[in-house]
Amino acid sequence: MLSIKDLKVSVDGKPILQGVNLQIRPGEVHAIMGPNGSGKSTLAHVLTGREGYQVTGGEVRYEGEDLLGLEVEERAHKGLFLALQYPVELPGVNNMVFLREALNAIRTARGEPPLDAVQFIKLVRDKANAVNIDPELLKRSVNAGFSGGEKKRNEILQMALLEPKLAILDETDSGLDIDALRIVADGVNTLRAPHRAMIVVTHYQRLLDYIEPDYVHVLVGGRILRSGDKSLALELEEKGYGWITEEAAA
């Protein structure tokens, strides 16, 4: 589904990713862990096409296609989704309108008819229930004045509605207390499916207690230094990141 080969990315001329390799198949959940500044968010952003990142080498193929050549919205149309670490506030843009425009843009791009208002409201209420989100959030401006937990839950609602093939969760646990974390993780777990892959980017092992990954990769200094199963996350929790860096240096 996703194949990253020797990806090198700079920001303002400073190399951040220095040759990342990663293979992801449908249905898999991959965790990417690493200390601050290791390039985790850069990887998430460059996959979704955010401006300000210069790809200096390597390639990314998504379902056989050159992903990096696509516009941001084209990637979304083809099933890519990024849940942001800091969801953006859109004052004055009604959440319901935002969700409908997004869903219908994606449906139109796929050659499906857009949903009318009645169909949409029913669908969005079902989805909100499924991921345990207060429908009141739908009436407000997108993320404006939302608590940290509400913002993250709103991201999960978008994901539930847009049904991506590949979802990237960037530090979804940051800023959440344990109850909010559980709600968000439950939401993510209900969206696990054989045809859907996920990349869970996180600094802490904590999130992985709730979202169990199939693979864990450790990103340090812009390279994946180690890959393993979920037991690697537990090892990191116990020993920190230092030993991997030392092993790699040795």
Binding site: T48, E51, V72, V88, G92, E101, A102, A105
Partner: protein, 450 residues
């Protein structure tokens, strides 16, 4: 400089002729008080002429193009418009009265008033001056004076018709009053001077919608003047939309006077015309009144939009909130000149003025000038202005959800305007403004910023 003086003199001579030929056709010939007002205004205008860019209030706004054209105040009657023709211009769905003017003339067949309580007056000003001049004497010119500005003087000298609204003490209208001014035609260059007079007695409540639009192409200069007089504890909502043809030039001058504990809420939206200016002159005549004044403007290629506020806090304990927002496209230009003056006796004044501008093109231009002049020492006053572009993070967020870039821009611009439209008490007005705003944003080719 000589060219400017010559243009000014030529224009003044043309208007001298226009004033002379028009005078005999204006209503109220037999009313001494009105004749005196008109004579004084005419003299003031002919003495002062048109403003130039040397006048501080006109520094950013050139009148040259307007002054080059010879204009007339009347046009041969149009082929009659029918109800279906004016229906698309409707901004309300529960109006207690709708008055439709075509090229400055009230069209009774397209207008209606219904279930109006006795003593409430809603009619054309010309008809009222003929039938019940005593009711108007004393109100006309009270809020504005005779010649407070040069264009106001010209309006006083030339006004031919407009709307007269009188709401007696304690009366609350169940629906809005809608007034539509349609201009049409390009065979001659028209100069129209609508005069609106709105009086709310103590404790009266009313909502008024003023709409200036064009039926097809229209080469029209509208010099409108609206006087509002609010009695004690009176409440008025006042929604205005200027969406005239690209050939049109438009000037609206509003003079609003508020009594004790009254509340005025205004929203002025300016979308059309090649040149459009709105002046709000607000004054508190007694303490503890409140004024909420909002404005929204859009200017694209070949458009200049100009808002001038002159908010006078002369009485203690009054509150005013001025929120103005602009969206600039293509080579559009906007001027915002917002002045709040707090006199020495106006203690406990609470005034906040903001002006935020969104530039969607490199070639667009905004001149914004907020001014607070404070002579009292126990006041809360603040102002803030911004000129910015769409946030890249917001654009990315929308696009990452599959929304095309042009739709993302449209949604963010609507969101920018929503703060002002959310407080609009007439749903049809809000919906129409949103719809026109959307189509303007979609039609504009020069949305290149990245």
């Amino acid at each position: 400089m000589n060219a400017v003086v010559r243009l000014q003199d030529e224009a003044r001579e043309r208007y001298r002729e226009l004033l002379a030929t028009t005078a005999q056709t204006l209503p109220g010939q037999d009313l001494d008080w009105l004749t005196a007002q008109r004579a004084e205004a005419t003299a003031a205008f002919l003495r002062q002429g048109f403003p130039t860019r040397k006048d501080e209030a006109w520094r950013y706004t050139s009148l040259d193009k307007l002054l080059q054209q010879t204009r007339v105040t009347k046009v041969a009657p149009l082929p009659a418009l029918n109800a279906a023709d004016v229906e698309p211009f409707r901004l309300t769905d529960n109006a207690v009265a709708r008055l439709v003017f075509v090229n400055g003339v009230l069209c009774p067949a397209l207008s209606h008033t219904q279930d109006i309580e006795t003593e409430v007056e809603i009619s054309g000003l010309r008809a009222a001056l003929e039938r019940t001049p005593d009711k108007i004497a004393g109100w006309l010119g009270r809020a504005a004076g005779t010649a407070p500005t040069r264009f106001a003087a010209l309006n006083t000298a030339l006004h031919n018709d407009g709307v007269w609204i009188y709401i007696p003490a304690g009366v609350r209208l169940v629906g809005p009053i809608e007034v539509l001014y349609l201009s049409s035609g390009t065979e001659v260059a028209l100069a129209l001077s609508p005069r609106n007079l709105i009086v709310l007695e103590n404790g009266a409540h009313a909502t008024v919608v003023e709409h200036y639009a064009s039926y097809g192409a229209a080469n029209c200069f509208t010099n409108s003047l609206t006087e509002v007089q609010l009695g004690e504890a009176a409440e008025m909502e006042h929604y205005r939309l200027q969406d005239e043809d690209a050939l049109a030039t438009h000037l609206s001058s509003l003079f609003i006077r508020q009594g004790r504990s009254s509340h005025y809420h205004g929203l002025g939206v300016s979308l059309g015309g090649t040149w459009s200016r709105t002046e709000y002159h607000n004054g508190f005549e007694q303490p503890n009144a409140r004024c909420d004044l909002d404005g929204l403007y859009v200017a694209g290629d070949r458009q200049l939009t100009d808002f001038h506020l002159d908010i006078r806090h002369a009485m203690p304990g009054c509150t005013s909130r001025e929120r103005f927002k602009g969206i600039l496209l293509g080579r559009g230009r906007a001027v915002f000149d917002g002045r709040i003056r707090v006199e020495q006796d106006a203690q406990q004044t609470d005034a906040v003025l903001t002006n935020h501008n969104l530039l969607l093109s490199r070639d667009a231009e905004v001149d914004t000038k907020p001014q607070l002049e404070i002579f009292a020492d126990d006041v809360k006053c603040a102002h803030g202005t911004t000129i910015g572009q769409l946030e890249p993070a917001q654009m990315f967020y929308l696009r990452s959800r599959g929304i095309r870039a042009e739709d993302a821009r449209r949604m963010l611009c609507l969101g920018f305007a929503t703060e002002l439209l959310a407080d609009c008490g007439v749903p049809g007005f809000r919906a129409q403004v949103e719809r026109r705003l959307e189509s303007r944003l979609l039609a504009e080719p020069a949305l290149e910023m990245e």
